[in-house]
């Protein structure tokens, strides 16, 4: 049972508090962790709250990159003008999470470290090629978000001794666009049956870079290289998009779930959502407006 609740004021202090209290774990918005504690899925003696650490809450642009603190809430990510303009896939994903209450509390870092395969902002961050900065007793490391997963609900970030401090997304410059689509049984308070984020860049009429992430079709956000490979070097068109979507469908391995949807339905929907995400991303890349 949890006995102590402590506030860290800096990442270094957070590490010190974690080290000083055996059985301690870091908590951000608590929207996942508190449920785990209630259901006794985790035994945590001391909680170290990171939501009062100023540098974990930044959102800014610096030398061609966007920096997002790990404790940025979904509400802020969704509302930020910078994110909406430069990383629309992330803004849309953050806006899709839960409900206003959940978005006010839940954070990007928590969404990633909780390691659910279809966590909305994690899916967007993977498609955007975000890198996470993790500070631990051994020092700091930077890891692409898609490499943080060890299995369903298992992160390579150990929140009992490490802290994810920020995400860094390189801006690709001219001709880039990103989009997020999601299928859910209701408009709010609904975990996705399927979600897709895509980021593309078009230079001189050809797709030069592409990242497509689909979930939950694997134990973690699935970065679908097969779909990207179809796109690169091609002129964006309905036909190319359809082929990329077909490749994604082929590669996707969704599970059968009474609760979240059958495998066959989600496979079929992979085609639809990838098509829609890519169509929007390419439209943005061509200077269109985000919807």
């Amino acid at each position: 049972m949890t006995r102590q609740y402590l506030f860290a004021t800096s990442p270094a202090e957070c590490l010190a508090l974690l080290a000083a209290h055996p059985g301690a774990r870091l908590i951000a918005g608590g929207t996942d962790l508190v449920i785990d504690l209630k259901e006794e899925k985790r035994q945590v003696h001391t909680l170290v709250d990171i939501t009062r650490i100023p540098e974990l809450k930044i959102i800014h642009e610096e030398n061609g990159r966007i920096i997002l603190g790990a404790a940025v809430t979904h509400t802020r990510a969704a509302a930020s003008k910078l994110i909406r303009e430069k990383l629309p896939a992330l803004a849309a994903a953050a806006a899709a999470v839960g409900s206003p209450q959940i978005r006010n509390a839940g954070t990007l870092g928590g969404n990633v470290v909780n390691a659910q395969p279809a966590a909305d902002t994690a899916v967007a961050l993977v498609a955007l090629g975000a890198e996470a900065t993790i500070l631990g007793p051994e020092g700091e490391r930077r890891v692409p978000v898609e490499e943080l997963y060890a299995g369903v609900g298992r992160s390579k970030v150990d929140a009992s001794r490490e802290i994810l401090t920020r995400f860094t997304v390189d801006l690709w410059g001219e001709g880039e666009g990103s989009a997020f689509t999601r299928l859910s049984p209701r408009r709010a308070l609904s975990l996705p049956m399927l979600n897709v984020a895509a980021r593309v860049q078009v230079v001189d009429g050809k797709c030069t870079r592409a990242r497509v992430c689909v979930a939950p079709v694997a134990p973690w956000p699935f970065l679908c290289e097969e779909a990207a490979a179809v796109l690169i070097g091609q002129e964006p068109s309905a036909g190319v998009i359809a082929r990329a979507a077909a490749a994604a469908r082929e590669a996707a391995r969704p599970r059968d779930s009474l609760l979240r949807g059958s495998s066959s339905y989600r496979k079929d929907m992979t085609t639809v959502l990838v098509t829609r995400a890519l169509a929007e991303a390419f439209s943005l890349a061509a200077g269109g407006k985000s919807n």
Partner: protein, 771 residues
């Protein structure tokens, strides 16, 4: 009768108390030395308890009592909120004991703990060791009815709780004469009420040794009887208090917690015990709405007249009887006046399974059968190439019709006008023409469905209602009613009726909202959409009696004959001229303090309403179906109701809004899911159970066709449950119209819709790049 109050949208009498948080709900009662009760639940759907060891739990400091089936009375009792039947043959099935030695669904109560706080109670639950002999779980009616299936209740062969319906005319003969025969199979899902306030009871033993239960219930007087039966004590030794209630929709028309709460306080030396369910518990161990499967066969003539219908129904009632036996019958009788036909045969089977207990839920069997019949009718209309509206108009009831089985008469009948209005609101003809021959990946469609419903339960159930009115010294009145405000607004409309009769503004009617079985007049409670109609009759009767006494008192004061007097605007007036005789307040004061003739004016009235009235209505929906994903969007929806005279338009519209959104969830997203092998609930929480959020509910159009029902002093009929009844079939029919696919089950989830669209060849492979 001056019509200044009835028919007006006066504010709810409890509005301010509720929005300021002053209204007291059960959970707001905090008592000294109050203990907390918690329930240990079965992990198995079907098992016998071989051994149960509570010694470690009892030894835990802070634990006041631990109860198993061995520690509580073993009386078998029914839980359904019905008036007690004097004839033992008509009583509800008594298949419950307070705690059980055989568990019948995942979540069934095995043991209970009473402790000083929640944490200790939760700890103690973990210390109870139970040994089960696990039996085969029977999760579908088919499995339960199969030869050789184990019995869920030993005294119930075949696991069939009830069967036996009715036949009007000769169905086989009608089929012989029919030009066409149509058959369909349709089914509904298990859903949950999801009322705001979870189930909660507080029980204690008072200084006279009586058991007092403060509880969130729709039926305080019935709870008194059921607790008496469960404990095997005289019913008068139980006192039930109903404070503000945060919704019930039928789940509190049942004794879910009270017998156990009473047993808990008895085990804890009479100390107050609070037993409050979490949402997760509430969703599995209170009540659900029956999933029902229908097979319908219908004979139709060339000119589109229905002449015979045979409906077979199999209702999954879950682990205990609750209302199961009467719901199949109620559904089968309330719908049948809508389309009177020469022959109608109804054959329901209500079957026990090892799933949570199905009971009363808004509509009481009607949402299910209306979904089935109204979907079936659209299937027929399409095959006959008839417009669904025209087809119904050929068959609809007219005023004057008398139900041949129960003798209830249709005296006011606005269904034709409801349909005409609904058609206009949704622009039926225009859009029907516009949506012909659509080709895109998003298809629009229009659908409609009608319903008929009763007002109360007569003649199946007794319809007794009580009201008490006291004229205060200042000319205001206290109104006390036996039936229960649970959020639907009954206190307000009943106050309006009293005010109208007595020539008072509504704020001069002080409603006592709490029902306390020691004090409140007898009334069976909030259910069957009965209050405005049935309890309203009692209120009108009491108010009329008070009025007569007032005028008689004035006669004593003035020698003006009572029949020449009336009360208007808080004044005694001459009936014909309206000239003021004296203020009502003066009469009131005199009635208390006249040295000789003082006789404070009151009425304590009961009304046994041996009558019923049919309400009608229709839902018109427009949908857009995304052929690529199977998602359905309800673009427009209108409900038009004939509930007789509308007493309070704003409250009535609110009732329709709530009912329609409940119907939308039923149509599109709600269903309780269970592991197909173990019967474990998969979504007994509000994240995974897809109750629509406000974002999912479109604007709802509401209209009323105000007939005047002659059996009621104010001309009203039922409106509580009806709005939810026609919604799901209207949406289903709209989807049918949009796609041509005859969907046969609820809910119409994207996955289900997509699978059927794909099978029908409506899904074009490959992307068109559209967003």
């Amino acid at each position: 009768m001056p019509d200044t109050v009835v028919g007006k949208s006066v504010s709810r009498v409890d509005a301010v108390a509720k929005v300021t948080g002053k209204a007291k709900y059960t959970g707001d009662f905090v008592m000294r030395d109050m203990l907390v009760g918690k329930i240990l639940r079965s992990p198995y759907a079907h098992a016998i308890i071989k051994n149960i060891d509570v010694s470690r739990a009892r030894a835990l400091p802070g634990v006041a009592a631990v109860l198993t089936y061995k520690d509580v009375p073993r009386n078998r009792f029914p839980t359904a909120g019905h008036p007690h039947a004097l004839d033992p043959k008509h009583r509800d099935k008594a298949d419950r004991t307070i705690l059980t030695d055989k568990v019948r669904f995942v979540g069934d109560a095995v043991a209970a703990v009473v402790a000083t706080d929640e944490l200790i109670a939760a700890e103690a639950l973990k210390l109870i060791a139970v040994e089960y002999e696990v039996l085969e779980p029977l999760l579908t009616p088919e499995a339960a009815m199969a030869e050789g299936a184990p019995l869920i209740h030993d005294d119930c062969p075949g696991n069939i709780l009830s069967s036996g319906g009715y036949e009007i005319g000769d169905v086989e003969a009608a089929f012989q004469e029919a030009d066409y025969i149509f058959e369909d199979e349709l089914e509904t899902s298990i859903v949950q009420h999801c009322q705001l306030e979870n189930h909660i009871s507080i029980a204690y033993v008072d200084s006279d040794g009586r058991i007092v239960i403060i509880t969130s219930t729709q039926i305080p007087h019935i709870i008194r009887r059921i607790v008496g039966q469960a404990l095997g004590i005289p019913w008068g030794r139980v006192r039930v208090i109903k404070p503000c209630v945060g919704g019930g929709f039928g789940s509190k028309q049942d004794a879910c917690l009270e017998p156990l709460a009473a047993a808990m306080t008895l085990a804890a030396g009479g100390r107050p015990v609070k037993l409050e369910l979490s949402r997760e518990e509430c969703m599995i161990d209170t009540r659900t709405r029956h999933a029902i499967k229908y097979r319908i066969k219908t004979g139709v003539t060339k000119d589109g007249k229905l002449i015979g219908m045979h409906i077979r129904a199999i209702a999954n009632t879950g682990a205990y009887a609750s209302h199961g036996h009467s719901i199949a019958m109620a559904g089968g009788s309330k719908f049948r006046v809508l389309y009177p036909m020469r022959a109608l045969k109804y054959e329901p089977y209500t079957v026990y399974t090892n799933l949570p207990v199905a009971g009363a839920m808004r509509g009481y069997g009607s949402p299910q059968i209306t979904f089935a019949v109204e979907s079936h009718l659209d299937n027929i209309a399409r095959k006959l190439n008839l417009d669904p509206v025209e087809f119904r108009l050929k068959n609809l009831v007219q005023a004057g019709y008398i139900d041949p089985l129960n003798g209830n008469a249709v005296r006011s009948c606005g269904i034709h006008e409801c349909i005409a209005r609904g058609k206009g609101l949704i622009k039926w003809d225009e859009k029907k023409a516009r949506y012909k021959g659509q080709t895109g990946s998003k298809r629009r469609g229009l659908g409609m469905a009608c319903f008929s419903y009763g007002s109360g339960t007569y003649p199946v159930g007794q319809e007794i209602a009580g009201a008490r009115i006291v004229l205060n010294q200042d000319g205001s009145v206290q109104l006390q009613i036996g039936a229960t405000e649970i959020g639907q607004g009954s206190d307000t409309v009943l106050a309006q009726m009293a005010a109208a009769t007595l020539g008072l503004p509504v704020d001069m009617v002080h409603v006592i909202s709490t029902q306390d079985t020691d004090i409140a007049p007898f009334d069976t409670g909030a259910y069957a959409s009965r209050q405005t109609y049935i309890s309203g009759m009692a209120v009108a009767k009491a108010a009329t009696e008070v009025k007569e006494k007032i005028l008689d008192f004035v006669r004593g004061m003035t020698d003006i004959p009572a029949h020449a007097l009336d009360i208007e605007d808080q004044n005694i007036v001459y009936k014909h001229s309206g000239e003021v005789v004296m203020p009502l307040a003066e009469v009131a004061l005199q009635s208390y303090y006249d040295p000789v003739f003082a006789r404070p004016i009151t009425s304590d009235t009961s009304n046994n309403a041996r009558i019923n009235a049919f309400s009608f209505g229709v839902s018109f929906a427009e949908v857009e179906v995304d052929l690529k994903t199977g998602k359905i969007e309800v673009v427009e929806i209108y409900n038009v109701h004939d509930s007789g005279k509308i007493i309070n338009p704003q409250l009535a519209a609110g009732q329709v809004h709530g009912g329609v959104s409940m119907g939308l969830g039923y149509a599109l997203s709600e269903q309780m899911l269970f592991d197909e092998e173990t019967g474990k609930p998969l979504n007994n929480n509000l994240l995974d159970y897809k109750l629509p959020t406000i974002m999912d509910v479109p604007d709802i159009g509401v209209d009323f066709v105000e007939t005047f029902e002659p059996t009621h002093p104010f001309g009203c009929k039922s409106l509580g449950e009806p709005p939810t009844i026609p919604v799901a079939p209207a949406i289903r029919n709209a989807v049918f119209d949009a796609t041509g696919v005859a969907f046969a089950r609820l809910p119409l989830t994207p996955q289900l819709v997509f699978a059927r669209l794909k099978a029908a060849g409506l899904v074009q492979e490959g992307g068109d790049g559209c967003v």
